[in-house]
Amino acid sequence: MIQLTINGLEVSVEEGMTVLEAARFFGFPIPTLCHMDGLNPYGACRLCVVEIGEGPGAKLVSSCTYPVEEGLRIRTTSSRVLKARKMILELLLASCPQSKTIQDLASAHAINQQRFRQEYEDCILCGRCVRMCEEQMAAKAIGFRGRGEKRSLGTPFDKNSEVCRQCGACIYVCPACELRCTSTTPEQAICGGCQNISPPCIEKEMFHDTMCYMDPCVACEIKKD
């Protein structure tokens, strides 16, 4: 068993777990996009970044790929992490605004506008479909090609695949293949913008850059006296 600290809480986890698994096990929410239970972690979307270490050596790492280490000090909601998540969501909205998953994530973090030139792409290259096809469906029909801007998804040389069994798993797991919010009435709206989760306030003494989601919270009320 490995001892480490998450958001000030000292916990004991099994070796081989990732930081994401450990944090979620103890109830600390971390947003993800390219992660999917059952698939190998990939670390492409960067939404799951958490801050590890303290002082000048502190850095952000993707929690889905980082293995737990003895003595690790993790913070899932420091201001650095929050700033990063907000910018990533802005960038996501700037590229793929029509995806419900992305819209939900954005509104959950109080983002409702983005400052970049608007694009309408239908793929965010999260790799879920690639990993699903290879790891769960054992077909390996699609993959990444190209580099940087020109990175894309498809079959080898865009030829019709002989190994694709048309199982539809790739469509099933795709976060971008979903509809935009379709209604103004809350019952029919599907974007979830009404929910607004901000992060918890543990370690408020040590780190003055976190916010509380339970407003008003008992601890804050007590301090007011």
Binding site: A44, R46, R80, A84, M87, I88, R117
Partner: protein, 616 residues
């Protein structure tokens, strides 16, 4: 060649070669690395062979074709040994005259190097300021060996260090010596090499352990590694054999970028010759130690210089970095312990053991031992490769060795570290070149590129150029790197086109710090450096572009206008040269530029003899 069966036999072989060597015989040394060949060195070689054979001078004069010596601005050049006479920019007829003079023991006065400051001719290479102020521990060796003749290398005490290490030292002692020397990796990050080797040595002895030579030199404008790969491939092989012995590595990989065909050719020949002689392969020189290496070619991706992407590339997969931990030293090629070191680091190893750790630390500065080769390029008089001790100031390199600006425009800044680095303004040229100082000032050492810029360089254009490079070279896996570099480029492009706003400038800074924070590999983490460092020191230029739609350096095409001024004599040369037919005018009358057709290529300004084209 006969395989050498023992260290003793090697020693005897070396002594015999040294005794037979005609050290005092006059030698024509012609640097013919890629830079030399591009300048015309092959023609000089041809003439030299023709003259020496035709005039039956081969018993008195030798010819040695080598790799790059470093003074690329003056190539094709010829060096005469043992006198040390240096002839710059030699043409074919000049070559004939030089050989003639050498045969008669004379010097061709009018072909000698002329120092631009004093105006006098300097005969000996060692006296030329460009060479004098350097500490050419590695580059000077390029002069003494023909890279495809292993005998040259052995004659110059090559492989003797390896033989001594194998005979007299234990692996732990070898690691200890490297640690004591304080040698830091020359690939850019500056990680202590001794520590890296110790970590690999400590890995429980697997059936396989790998050491890799990272020769994927991808920084634009950097070619230091190329000069060592082409000019002295055996120094790398020797270094790697010593490294394998120290760490218990069983196999080596030379990962060379495909765009270096001459380096690949020379390495293949060098490997073959080393194996033939028994210096590489099973039971090296009859000892229990066996080690061999393969050459793997890159496929044109800058990101494959990153160690985890490099390892994936070697494994035959797409070059994408992965999260560390686990570090390659624990899980590298095929999950086996692996370390990656840069070409220059490996080349420093035989030197280190020859001098001993203590003497090695005497060059350079505290915590930054040894020399570093920089490729000094840009608006500088003496373009080339310079090898200086760590700790020398930027000013000394740029003015003392580089000779100052190549035109009348004063030098504004120096860009170090390639696309991952930053710009350092002229006001900070008293900064010493070491890992810490450069990092503090917003740049990095990187692999050693040093681009000199003058006031005709637009810093936004520079930032945009590097951002475009990184945007194209990003592997694309991390969302923030792929989109971040793309969006940063978009904003920089907007600013360069005069469409930028102050809001975008703030957004740029914000985005830059997020990209730095959240990406997985060093490409993304250092991608914002060019932007952040130019913003830090040259913010006024950004503001000029945004607030006044002006490019002070007259570079950004959307913001400048070309026009003809009153100095025009109506000669019509510009009119005839213009590729867009944008200039009209009668003979002997003031010409005019139609700005709607003008593409701002600058051709008119460069052909005009009367300085009559103004750019505002």
């Amino acid at each position: 060649m006969e395989r050498l069966q023992s260290i003793q036999e090697f020693g005897q072989f070396q002594e015999r070669l040294r005794a037979e060597r005609k050290a005092s015989m006059t030698t024509l040394v012609i640097p013919a690395g890629t830079c030399g060949q591009a300048s015309g060195a092959n023609g000089l070689v041809r003439i030299a062979k023709r003259e020496l054979l035709g005039r039956k001078l081969t018993d008195r004069i030798q010819l040695r074709i080598t790799g790059c010596h470093g003074f690329c601005e003056m190539e094709p050049s010829v060096l005469i040994e043992p006198q040390g006479t240096f002839y710059p920019k030699v043409d074919l007829s000049g070559m004939v005259r030089i050989i003639d003079a050498v045969a008669r023991g004379q010097v061709v006065q009018d072909l000698l190097f002329v120092d631009s400051v004093s105006g006098t001719a300097i005969e000996r290479q060692a006296e030329i300021p460009f060479f004098k102020k350097q500490v050419r521990a590695l580059l000077s060796r390029n002069e003494r060996v023909d890279p495809i003749r292993i005998h040259d290398y052995i004659e110059n005490r090559g492989y003797a260090t390896m033989a001594r290490v194998l005979a007299e030292m234990k692996p732990e002692q070898v690691v200890g010596e490297v640690k004591a020397s304080g040698l830091r990796g020359r690939g850019g990050a500056g990680f202590p090499t001794g520590l890296k080797w110790e970590m690999l040595a400590k890995q429980p002895n697997h059936r396989e352990k790998f050491i890799i030579c990272n020769a994927d030199e991808g920084d634009p404008g950097a070619y230091m590694d190329r000069s060592v790969l082409e000019g002295n491939p055996h120094s790398i092989i020797e270094g790697m054999i010593i490294g394998a012995y120290a760490t218990g590595a069983t196999r080596g990989v030379l990962y060379v970028r495909n765009e270096y065909p001459l380096a690949i050719k020379h390495l293949i020949i060098a490997l073959r010759q080393a194996r033939e002689l028994g210096l590489l392969g099973h039971h090296i020189l009859g000892t229990d130690f066996s080690f061999d290496m393969d050459l793997v070619r890159g496929a044109g991706a800058f990101v494959c210089g990153e160690e985890t992407a490099l390892i994936r590339s070697i494994e035959g997969k797409m070059g994408e970095p992965r999260q560390r931990p686990p570090y390659p030293v624990q899980k590298g090629i095929d999950g086996k312990p692996t370390i990656v070191n840069n070409v220059e680091t490996w080349a420093n190893i035989p030197l280190l053991f020859e001098l001993g750790a203590e003497k090695f630390t005497q060059v350079g500065s505290k915590k930054n031992a040894g020399t570093k080769i920089f490729s000094l390029v840009g608006k500088i008089k003496n373009t080339g490769l310079v090898e200086v001790p760590m700790g020398m100031t930027i000013g000394e390199i740029v003015y003392g060795i580089g000779g100052g600006p190549s035109t009348s425009a004063p030098i504004k800044a120096v860009q170090t570290g390639g696309p991952s680095g930053g710009c350092i303004p002229a006001s900070k040229f008293d900064l010493p070149i070491d890992y810490e100082s450069l990092k503090e000032s917003g740049s990095i050492m990187g692999s050693g590129g040093m681009i000199v810029m003058d006031e005709n360089t637009c810093m936004i254009d520079v930032a945009r150029y590097f951002m475009k490079f990184l945007k194209d070279e990003s592997c694309g896996k991390c969302f923030t790197c792929r989109k971040g570099t793309q969006r940063m480029y978009e904003i920089l492009d907007d600013i360069a086109m005069g469409r930028g706003t102050l809001v975008q400038l703030d957004l740029l800074e914000e985005l830059a710090s997020i990209v730095n924070d959240t990406t997985m590999c060093a490409l993304g983490q250092t991608a914002p450096n060019p932007v952040l460092s130019t913003l830090r020191y040259f913010r006024e230029e950004y503001l000029e572009h945004i607030e006044h739609q002006r490019c002070p350096a007259h570079v950004c095409k959307a913001l400048i206008t070309y026009s003809v001024n009153e100095k025009c004599t109506g000669c019509g040369l510009c009119r005839r040269s213009c590729p867009s037919e944008a200039i009209t005018g009668e003979k002997k009358e003031l010409h005019q530029i139609d700005t709607s057709k003008c593409t701002k290529c600058g051709l008119c300004r460069s052909v005009c003899k009367f300085d009559a084209v103004t750019v505002i």
